[in-house]
């Protein structure tokens, strides 16, 4: 019993550390990737004992700066709520990572330890619910700072997140019909098979429309360009207009966490999670014949690596989108959500149902 608690604790700490470190790393990726796209050099001055490493220490410098900035709270703000908002945002997003399987299971001291903090029965619903709860952070943040720009930003944020929550949910229904489970671990296991004997049986191949809707809705959920209306830095500055210092940093950090969560979800639900194409428990079995045996530990390492690479790929893709497109307008975002994505998601359910019924 005590061992179980310890294992879960260790996994939780590891998962949290992984997520936070990746988020820190992403701030560097974002700086550098945008710099490459924009013909700049990007931050490269932060150094430790003269060691620069292409500015890899910049996130730490940023973090230190955020810690020591004045934490300014306007006198007219509602202080407890103003304090609570970034914490709520941060908590709701970071807690979703417990449901995501990072890899298969490992055998340690005669125990089978799944590389997942909690294998929830309704993990998909849990993740959606937690992302939905994140709205409260935005809403209270804008409301509590008693600033009209902040208020408009938080209202935009609430409207946008709730609308896209619907599309996001609908896009996953089709997937759950194909892989009949709400457990993320089961969904990943289902994706281990082969399609037509060649293709890995990933969600993207079974649910292409579902993925398109999921991807767009997910982009909107992360509140970044082209869906960065709650922020809209050139128009309304955003729901964190009145935030500074570490609280502002927490909001920014939440943004990056959302990117990671969305990337992890996309990888888990549609790209086979930790599955490596044609890699079974005993090693690779290629559809064109031929096999490569692999030791169990090598398989585990490959699978964890595969998951991480997929997450990194989606993070990279999101940053690419972020620095390529202009911002949509409020009514356009609503139109896209309700008039395009929701009907498309519904149609996807119908089509999936028809295919399943006919087969």
């Amino acid at each position: 019993m005590a061992a179980d608690v310890l294992i879960v604790l260790a996994k939780a700490v590891l998962a949290m550390t992984w997520t936070l470190l990746l988020a820190l790393f992403l701030t560097w990726v974002e700086r550098k990737e945008s710099a490459v796209m924009q013909d700049r050099i990007g931050a490269n001055r932060a150094s430790i004992f003269g060691l620069r490493l292409f500015g890899l220490f910049q996130p730490f410098a940023d973090a230190i700066k955020m810690f020591f900035k004045e934490d300014f709270v306007p006198s007219f703000a509602r202080k407890p709520l103003h304090w609570l908002a970034p914490a709520v945002s941060f908590f709701c997003v970071s807690v979703t990572m417990i449901a995501v399987p990072f890899g298969d299971a490992i055998r340690l001291f005669g125990r089978r330890i799944p590389l997942q903090v909690a294998d929830l029965d309704a993990a998909v619903l849990f993740v959606l619910a937690m992302l939905g709860l994140g709205v409260y952070g935005i809403l209270t943040g804008g409301w509590a700072s008693a600033n009209r720009f902040g208020l408009i930003g938080s209202l935009r944020g609430a409207a946008q997140l709730i609308s896209y929550e619907v599309a996001l949910g609908l896009s996953l229904v089709g997937l759950i019909m194909v892989f009949p489970s709400l457990r993320l671990s089961r969904i990943v296991e289902y994706q281990g098979g082969l399609l037509f004997g060649v293709l890995p049986k990933w969600g993207i191949f079974l649910q292409p429309l579902g993925f398109a809707v999921f991807f767009l809705a997910g982009l909107a959920e992360t509140k970044r360009v082209p869906f960065d209306l709650p922020e809209g830095e050139s128009e309304i500055i955003g729901f964190y207009t009145e935030y500074s210092g570490l609280k502002f940093g927490l909001f920014m950090f939440t943004d990056f966490l959302e990117v990671i969560v969305f990337a992890a979800l996309a990888a888990t639900l549609f790209f086979g999670g930790w599955q490596v194409p044609w890699l079974g428990d005993g090693g690779f079995v290629f559809p064109w014949g031929g096999r490569i045996a692999a030791a169990p530990w090598a398989v585990t390492v490959l699978r964890v690596l595969s998951f991480n690479l997929k997450v990194l790929f989606f993070c990279w893709l999101q940053i690419l989108v972020r620095w390529t497109y202009p911002r949509l307008r409020y009514d356009q975002v609503m139109d896209l959500g309700w008039k395009v994505l929701v009907p498309a998601g519904a149609f996807n359910i119908l089509a999936t149902g028809l295919v399943l019924a006919v087969r």
């Binding site: 796209m37 408009i152 500055i237 949509l328 307008r329």
Partner: protein, 443 residues
């Protein structure tokens, strides 16, 4: 007195009032827009200018004709050379001066460089305000190419004071031809990139098409000029309508839009930059190579001064770096010979009694340039429209009255109409597409 603004008094109690600016990231620091909102929709707007007011026109009445040139740099600070040009040409009209051909060509080069950088700045800001930050940095990069060329010759990037009454201050630097060609090439590449990113980008089109549209009649009645007016389909360009310098000998088109909306203003500016680059290439081909300066020893100024005490000095004199390019030998191509309206050659001031006297007389209060009594208006095509100077002279060494016709003043006057009934997000790009320049609008 009621301290509230008109909008605050008239607003319905239920609506949300939002004060945008002057401390707002997209207000260029110099404008305030009061919005009456119904959630996101704008019921009414009130624009307030004057946050960059420095009393330009009044200051000019206290400066001599020559000295006030530097204040024109600070009008439209994105294309200062065109302001220089407007003022210089107005004074030339008043004084009846003819400017040497070479100076005219250089002026065309400088105006077109400024025009492109002006459009680049405007579109870059507009794209950024729409959220396309990458486009912003691409265009800023292109502007650097052009400003490098300007800096090479004018010695400054913003406060140039390069185009003077009667001509230009200095000749083009050696190597300008290659520098210009490289800048044109670089700018073309950037324009191509930006076209690829925005021209058919459905988000960008959705954000700009039909937004901030104005009819031709309205645009004319507001007094719009420049790219904003041309976006409605009226091909009025001062360079074509009232040709000045050598524009009548150059081949260029005047691109026009159709709907007068934000997208047309973007597209007109994009195509105009292409035309300006064309003009740059044509003009550069027309400028003859400068004759080399006479060979021989180059004296330091103090050596020349010492030598001139005994006999008239011969040979060239090294000028201070900020006079480089305006050597005495170069002056005939750069300055009008008709009247002493430019700074007399520095070499003469160093070495001859007459030169020193004329130098003092030029700068002394009450001497200098003395135009006849009268008033005159002249305009040139600036970055965002017709830059006109109306000058009244009472025959003294400084203007009796100087009025600037700032193109964006007229454009911004229509802003309230353009954004009424739109969403908050439309305010900023519409405002950006009008290219409001604080230095020009507040004078």
């Amino acid at each position: 007195m009621d301290p509230r603004t008109r909008l605050e008094r008239q607003a319905r109690p239920a609506s949300l009032l939002l004060n945008m600016g002057p401390s707002h990231p997209a207000m260029h620091g110099t404008m305030r827009i009061m919005l009456e909102l119904d959630a996101e929709r704008i019921l009414n707007a009130e624009c307030e200018i004057g946050y960059l007011h420095r009393g330009f026109e009044k200051t000019c009445e206290n400066k001599t004709w020559f000295n006030l040139l530097i204040y024109t740099d600070r009008l439209n600070y994105v294309s200062p050379l065109i302001n220089n040009l407007g003022y210089a040409m107005t004074m030339e009209k008043m004084l009846g001066l003819a400017v040497p051909e070479r100076a005219q060509l250089i002026r065309v080069l400088m105006s077109e460089l400024s025009r492109v950088s002006d459009h680049l700045t405007c579109l870059a800001a507009m794209a950024m305000e729409n959220g396309a930050f990458t486009v912003f940095l691409y265009m800023m990069k292109a502007r650097e190419f052009l400003w490098d060329v300007i800096e090479q010759t004018a010695g400054a990037r913003m406060t140039t004071s390069y185009i003077r009454i009667g001509g230009v201050r200095a000749d083009l630097r050696p190597g300008w031809r290659e520098a210009l060609a490289a800048a044109v090439r670089g700018t073309r590449a950037v324009l191509k990139d930006v076209s690829g990113l925005l021209d058919r980008n459905s988000i960008f089109i959705g954000r700009t098409r039909g937004i901030g549209a104005i009819s031709r009649e309205d645009a004319l009645s507001y007094g719009w000029t420049g790219p904003c007016l041309r976006s409605t389909g009226i091909a009025y360009d001062v360079r074509k309508a009232h040709p000045y310098l050598v524009y009548d000998r150059l081949a260029f088109d005047v691109p026009v839009g159709e709907h007068g909306d934000n997208y047309d203003r973007y597209s007109v500016r994009m195509r105009e930059m292409e035309q300006s680059l064309r003009l740059l290439e044509q003009t550069a081909a027309l400028v003859p190579e400068a004759a080399p300066l006479p060979a021989g020893p180059v004296l330091e100024p103090d050596e020349a001064i010492r030598a001139s005490r005994r006999r008239r000095a011969s040979g060239r004199i090294r000028l201070s770096p900020n006079l480089e390019g305006s050597e005495k030998e170069r002056q005939p191509g750069l300055m009008t010979p008709d009247r002493p309206v430019g700074v007399p050659p520095k070499e003469d001031a160093y070495t001859t009694m007459e030169g020193l006297i004329s130098h003092f007389l030029f700068f002394m209060n009450g001497k200098g340039i003395r135009p006849p009594k009268g008033d005159v208006y002249f305009s040139v095509e600036g970055g965002n429209g017709e830059v006109g100077f109306y000058i009244v002279s009472d025959g003294s060494d400084r203007p009796y009255r100087l009025h600037l016709r700032a193109p964006c003043f007229h454009a911004v006057a229509a802003l309230e109409q353009l954004i009424r009934g739109r969403l908050i997000a439309d305010v900023i790009p519409t405002f950006g597409s009008l290219n409001m320049i604080g230095g020009e609008i507040d004078r």
